[in-house]
Amino acid sequence: MNLGFLVGVFGVLILSHAAYSTIQYRGLLKIMEEEFSRPPINVILELIIGLALCMWAALTFPGKFLSIHPDSDENRAVFLPDNSDFMIFNHRGRLFPPQIDMKF
């Protein structure tokens, strides 16, 4: 959990650094009076790595994925509860009332 959060923060920092590098690079190009065609290779690599880290963190940090299949082990129906609308009170438990000593 904590690792996911740290990886996410690191990914955002890498993306920010890529943006800052691009701004620096454009400033440098203006000084040299050259056309801006594409960001340098290291900035592109930073973008890809930052995106990958952010996506991984977004998928793992908030929580585990739950299964949506009705027949998976978590989702399968194990029992139907007693029909509470038709509950009756004169059952065999009447002969063995619980020893509740609490008063109310």
Partner: protein, 303 residues
Amino acid sequence: MVTKTEEIQLNQLENQVENGGGGVWEYLCLVRKLKVRRSEIVLKHGLSILNDSGKRSALGPDEWTLYEQVAIAAMDCQSLGVAQNCIKVLKKKFPESKRVGKLEALLLEAKGMWEEAEKAYTSLLEDNPLDQVIHKRKVAMAKAQGKSSLAIEHLNKYLEVFMADHDAWRELAEIYVSLQMYKQAAFCYEELILTQPTLPLYHLAYADVLYTIGGLENLIAARKYYAATIDLTGGKSTRALLGICLCGSAIAQISKGRNKEDKDMAAPELQSLAATALEREYKQKAPAKLNLLTSALRNLKIA
């Protein structure tokens, strides 16, 4: 219906509550949400909250829901004094409430005062003739007095008006099964499968009823519904696996003297596969009983 995840959560909270680890209110909410019947634990720990005025006031408006829950649990545990006191508190807070009126009638039922309860329900029905809960209580009252035919009659009338109520269909099916009226029970389970086709427990119950009725056609249909149960539970229904083995054996016995082929192509494979799955599951969960299962399957001439 309760899923595996919810069952695990319920059991964990129950253990925590019983061992004094807190989480009582979460447990009571889960019991209410899943509609399970844990009256003794609800009564004990609900009373501990109600007797603590600090905890009680911390609940806010949920306090009255807890009173209702504890009152019903107290009736189920035959602690009628506690139930009466809870209802008294609710009546003081909500003097004109129909919901509290229903609780009072429920208390009359628990005391065995059937005539007074009948009068109370009749007067409540005069104000609201389509109240489903009161109609159901009439059915439950007939069942509690042992008048099964009256309960069936009431349920049939109820289902003519509220035909989508699957709880009522289930109750009717269970009453028919208890009276060994299996054809009527099969019809009820067919209705349940029509309304909720993805619930494996209805397929399982229907297959059990068909197997009980017997006959070649019913056994073949029962095997199909056992297979549907296995499909819908991801292979985790031990009862359905046993059902397939028993159906296969019964079908083979009926078809033997008749020189009649089993039309289902997958039948022999189905039986052996079910037997293999059963053996694997017993090896995992109950190794001491594996020999018992193996000899039983050998008696059925399977695998």
